[in-house]
């Protein structure tokens, strides 16, 4: 006796979950990229987009203060100069601050005065602001990926 083959039907949960997962993944990618770009441009903005308000405010205030104090101490903003390793490192550290670096640099601010009393301190303040902002981009990435609170 021959029996008719029973058509194999996938469980309904799989049919629904596939498109839902795709939409969620798309949203997640947008959120991740948005948070990282925002964090790279303005300190704390990535965390603000992720609704981590306390961290956003603290990061913004701290990094802007570091950067502004650095400029007040006659620091130099090192522009794109790829002639030697130290110039590249200085530019990378400075440019990590995002718009905080680019706007004054294009405006001609941050010429620097090596004879100033705290010139080196100023440079360290500006480097630290940029490097900390890079760390914030990584932090915003981790939060938006759900690896961190």
């Amino acid at each position: 006796m021959e029996t008719e083959p029973v058509p194999q039907k996938s469980p309904p949960s799989q049919e629904i979950s596939a498109p839902t997962t795709a939409v969620a993944a798309e949203t997640n990618v947008g959120k991740v990229i948005g948070a990282c770009v925002a964090a790279a441009l303005v300190p704390g903005l990535g965390h603000a987009l992720l609704k981590k308000w306390d961290r956003a405010v603290v990061f913004f205030v701290s990094i802007v203060l570091l950067f502004v104090l650095g400029l007040m101490l006659q620091a130099r903003l090192f522009g794109p100069d790829f002639s030697d390793l130290f110039s590249i490192l200085k530019f990378t550290a400075d440019a990590g601050s995002g718009l905080l670096f680019w706007l004054p640099w294009f405006g001609g601010v941050g010429v620097g005065d090596p004879s100033a009393y705290a010139y080196d301190f100023g440079n360290v303040f500006v480097y630290a602001a940029g490097l900390l902002n890079m760390l914030l981009v990584v932090d915003a990435f981790d939060i938006s990926m759900g690896r961190k609170q």
Binding site: D54, F121, A128, L135, L136, D139, Q149
Partner: protein, 57 residues
């Protein structure tokens, strides 16, 4: 502004604050961690400064 020690204190406070808010969550934990980082920054800077004192850099 023309005092290296004051600049060290300001730098340590701001950097410690950022590290604290990246690494810790609760208020109590944050305060403890901030004080630990800030103290470490200041004390180790003074210690390294004294250690470097004899070297003619």
């Amino acid at each position: 502004m023309n005092n290296h020690f004051n600049l060290l204190l300001i730098f340590s406070a701001l950097v410690s604050l950022v590290f604290t808010f990246i690494a810790k969550y609760g208020t109590r934990e944050r305060v403890k961690y901030f004080l630990y980082l800030f103290g470490s920054f200041v004390l180790l800077s003074i210690l390294v400064g004294w250690l470097m004192y004899p070297f003619p850099f």
